[in-house]
Subunit: 107 residues, 2 copies
DNA sequence: CCCCTTGTTCGATAATCTTCGATGTGTTCG
DNA sequence: CGAACACATCGAAGATTATCGAACAAGGGG
């Protein structure tokens, strides 16, 4: 079961569709998710660069938080950096086909 | 061809994913789209009631406009009322599986 | 131990979004 | 014609979001 509510990530059962869609409804965050899908996983600095986002570090941190709190991505600490991954399985389980449709759609 | 740009509805080729997701990323608008999917088509007054939205008429009109400008629904005039329909075919063509995934997902 | 890198948090400002009531426009009906 | 209805639009108030720089915490080297 591993119902590990760590305070940072919403439980899979608590994912709200409107919130997920709202989080994805931003060009920058959408680019972030696309880049993360390509990379599989990445630390923040690399992801921001890979997504081609020219914004301050703090702003990217904010967007990453929005995605995390919506349940779209997961962050784990590794040394001094945070490794981000998409929560593909959980999203697929709760909103079947949604993430795939987003990732397969034209920019 | 029928590239009928009527000023009210974006052309199918101009639909922007982030904008569509942002439009859907609101509980009220999501409920509106769900209700419209059930009804097939509807005038505004009935749709608002069917979606269970308690808000002023002008506010609903605003949300309907957001959905329309994102390319999610289509409005045609019939007498004194506007008949709204989902732009299912166009959305499916441009963002395959997206709308279905949204409609099939739990509220 | 110092310092650089990574990333978060805070506080402020600006932009955008939501909401409403009032008003306007076109339609239908008596 | 005049009242009633269906919506849209306008203008304003309030809430939320985006953005930045500064300050902060934790690691990893040297």
């Amino acid at each position: 079961m591993t119902a590990t509510t760590d305070g940072l990530h919403p439980d899979a059962s608590e994912l709200r569709l409107a919130r997920v869609l709202a989080a994805l409804g931003d060009e920058g965050r959408l680019a972030t998710v696309r880049a993360l899908a390509r990379l599989g996983e990445s630390d923040c600095t690399r992801l921001q660069a890979d997504a081609g986002l020219e914004m301050s570090r703090s702003t990217f941190s904010h967007h990453q938080k929005v995605l995390r709190e919506a349940g779209i991505l997961h962050a784990r600490v590794q040394g001094s950096q945070r490794i981000l991954t998409l929560r593909r399985a959980e999203l697929q389980a709760r909103f079947p086909g949604l993430l795939d449709a987003v990732l397969d759609s034209p920019a």
